[in-house]
């Protein structure tokens, strides 16, 4: 799992040494950093004498020697059991016979980490607290990323109708002196900062622009939200759209009901954010007709046209759009709201 082991494998390949190897290809959905760590630990524990090298596709577990040890066979069986959606996930190789394919795996662009937008391990509460203090001392413009949300119709010019707020990952990386951002659930610890910064940020939006603010339902009922209302005035609260994660809505139905009541009293809508096709059934149960529902483009495409139509495309925001094909997919279904890198590129080109 380190550059030294990578180098050792390269040398074994170049020198034509005899070795055995298991080349493990991990499906994209299972390439999350914690899963990666667990699989590597499983490999190290099952075949303690072997070396584990990360590749763009997964792992190579290997060691010098003529014969594959029995433990490697057990590891292959266990890994196959853990990755059932990829029947060919584990490939048994030998050196020097399979030097070409193993060398290609090592040469593939981007290690596993970069291929999967690697996530750093938990920096610890102390570091996150220090990070929160650092950010709070800076003007929000220095650390808030405003992701434009556009309303698109066939043939119409794209224009932002809202901005989704998030903490700028680049600033977090710099502050933590880390090569990869903390796991998303830990970045959520910084949500109170976004809420505190909202009065200033809403002032820099166009008069009809809205801010999508990530919040837990409990936060909508808290003192900080009261202070936001006092700062911008009740009449402007319709410009704030709390973006509530589906997981939070499911975990706290009472708080969710109270939050809905408060928002309705102020004429506010809420956005319910779902991150996976597997959760669409729950999303359909928990979303109300007036909600905006955000779904990443890849999850919508995985769920399929019928499932997305069932949610009501007119209230959907297709998020994380990376290619124009994503937008075409959404427009084809009647979705009107889009967000993601391709949207930002589109705006950069003047719509």
């Amino acid at each position: 799992m380190c550059a030294g082991m990578d180098l050792a494998l390269r040398q074994a390949i170049e020198r034509g040494e005899a070795a055995w190897a298991l080349a493990v290809s991990v499906p994209p959905a299972a390439r999350l950093a914690p899963v990666r760590g667990a699989l590597a630990r499983l490999a190290a524990r099952t075949v303690p004498e072997a070396r584990v090298t990360e590749t763009a596709e997964g792992l190579i577990v290997w060691d010098r020697g003529e014969g594959e040890p029995a433990a490697a066979g057990r590891l292959a069986a266990r890994l196959a059991g853990l990755l059932p959606e990829a029947p060919d996930a584990v490939r048994r190789c030998r050196l020097p016979e399979d030097a070409g394919s193993l060398a290609a795996a090592l040469r593939a662009p981007g290690g596993w980490s970069s291929a999967t937008a690697g996530v750093a391990s938990d920096p610890g509460s102390e570091a996150l607290h220090a990070l929160a203090r650092t950010l709070a001392a800076l003007p929000p413009e220095a650390w808030v990323r405003r992701r434009p949300v556009v309303s698109l119709r066939h043939g119409a010019t794209a224009r932002p109708v809202a901005h989704r707020l998030e903490v700028d990952a680049a600033v977090v990386l710099k502050a933590l002196r880390s090569a990869a951002p903390p796991p998303p659930d830990q970045l959520r610890l910084l949500e109170p900062l976004l809420l505190a910064a909202a009065p200033r940020l809403v002032g820099s939006e166009p008069a009809d622009g809205r801010l999508l603010l990530p919040l837990a339902p409990e936060a909508v009922l808290g003192g900080a939200y009261d202070r936001l209302e006092q700062a911008i005035g009740r009449g402007s609260m319709a410009r704030i759209v709390p973006a509530i994660a589906l997981a939070d809505a499911a975990a706290a139905p009472r708080a969710m009901a109270s939050a809905r009541a408060r928002l309705a009293a102020d004429g506010q809508r809420l956005l319910l954010a779902c991150d996976a096709a597997a959760c669409l059934g729950l999303l359909a149960l928990l979303a109300t007709p007036g909600d905006i529902v955000a779904l990443p483009s890849w999850a919508a495409q995985e769920a399929g046209v019928e499932a997305v139509r069932g949610l009501g495309p007119q209230r959907l925001l297709l998020a994380a759009c990376r290619a124009e094909a994503d937008i075409a997919f959404g427009l084809g279904l009647g979705i009107g709201l889009f967000e993601g890198p391709v949207v930002e590129a589109l705006l950069g080109r003047g719509g």
């Binding site: 509460s125 102390e126 610890l189 808290g222 959760c279 729950l282």
Partner: protein, 375 residues
């Protein structure tokens, strides 16, 4: 009987946690500075029959004892506090190296900078011995917990005996013929009570993200304790609260590596629905890793109204723990429950006989709660 080895110099001063807490508060108030080693050798895995670890720890401690001006205090049950003025970096590093694989055995604090976490550690020790927390903290109970509080908790949670804080509830399997058998004992941890001990006067209620973080800290600590003490399972099966990311952590790998064969299949991991919704791939991977270790997963804290939308999400789980049995009994005849889920439902908090009867009639066999206990 195996006698626990003793640590420290010949001259030791008995000290209660409350006394220690007052002493360090006075040190801080007076503008003085002290370095403190809190030593809990009973946290060594296998204590006291762990000669190699004890010898390694003793060798590191001898160097601390040799520091000029060290005062050695003995807390109840073989815990120790060594106090000296500044310095001793190499000796502290030696202690840290000797205990790197045994979290919770030793911790070093600098007073006044580390006064709060030290007081929390002393509060945890006092609570373990049935004493009131020594830190005097009064005031309104509804101050929301902060990230700073969790940073303090994180530093001392290694000192807290979580296994002793678990509360148990029996889960029964009702046979079609009318009999019942104990399926497993379901352990739960009161996170608010834990926080109340460590940071009196704080509440988790308005801070779900911080609650989630505390839950993760606790589940990691719990796994570490389970790795050292397998007795919790007794002769039957148990269910313990768990966090999906923790199942993928080194702590779980250590538990799996050391788990005796007789306990395989007898430890159920309860992962809350919110974590599965937040990251289905992570939950799926956790359930598979747990299954490979022969630890079934129960997707817990599911509400009856969620069942109709959970077929895909709950697929990797062996069991589905549903709260609010009365609402489940009302809903099960009315709302569609996906067929694959029905036999896997574990209904919690069954309080009324009529609820029990209706759930049994609907094909729910696994139940807990007063009515299930009494049936």
């Amino acid at each position: 009987m195996l006698l626990a080895p003793t640590f420290g110099p010949a001259v030791r001063h008995p000290m209660m946690p409350a006394e220690a807490a007052r002493f360090f508060a006075a040190v801080a108030e007076n503008g003085a500075r002290r370095r403190v080693l809190l030593l809990r050798p009973s946290r060594l895995p296998g204590w006291p029959a762990c000669a190699a670890e004890t010898a390694r720890l003793r060798a590191a401690i001898e160097k601390v004892i040799a520091l000029p001006g060290v005062v050695w205090n003995e807390l109840p049950d073989g815990d120790h506090l060594a106090i000296w003025r500044r310095g001793g970096e190499a000796e502290v590093a030696g202690i840290e190296a000797a205990t790197v694989h045994t979290p919770g055995v030793a911790a070093v604090f600098d007073v006044p900078a580390d006064l709060a976490p030290l007081q929390l550690a002393l509060a945890a020790i006092a609570a373990e011995h049935g004493h009131a927390p020594p830190v005097v903290a009064s005031g309104p109970p509804a101050v929301p917990v902060t990230l700073a509080d969790l940073a303090a908790v994180e530093r001392v949670i290694g000192q807290v005996e979580l296994i002793e804080r678990l509360t148990a509830r029996d889960v029964w399997r009702f046979e079609p013929g009318g009999g019942k058998a104990l399926a497993f004992r379901r352990f739960s941890l009161d996170l608010q009570a834990l926080l109340g001990t460590l940071v009196p006067g704080r509440t988790l209620a308005p801070e779900p993200v911080l609650r989630e973080r505390l839950s993760r800290l606790a589940s990691r600590r719990l796994l570490a304790q389970l790795s050292a003490r397998h007795g919790l399972a007794g002769e039957g099966a148990i269910a313990i609260p768990m966090d999906a990311a923790t199942v993928l952590s080194p702590e779980f790998a250590r538990l799996d590596a050391g788990l005796p064969a007789r306990l395989r299949g007898r430890i159920v991991l309860e992962i809350p629905l919110a974590q599965a919704v937040a990251s289905p791939p992570l939950f799926t991977a956790a359930a598979r890793i747990a299954a490979a270790a022969e630890m079934p997963v129960c997707l817990s804290r599911v509400r009856p109204g969620h069942l109709a939308g959970l077929a895909a999400l709950a697929a990797p789980a062996t069991w589905v723990g549903v709260t609010d049995a009365a609402a489940l009994a009302e809903a099960i005849g009315r709302d569609p429950v996906p067929d694959p889920l029905r036999p896997r439902i574990v209904a919690g908090d069954v309080a009324e006989e009529t609820t029990l009867a209706r759930l049994r009639a609907a094909g729910i066999a696994m139940m807990s709660g007063p009515a299930a206990d009494a049936a």
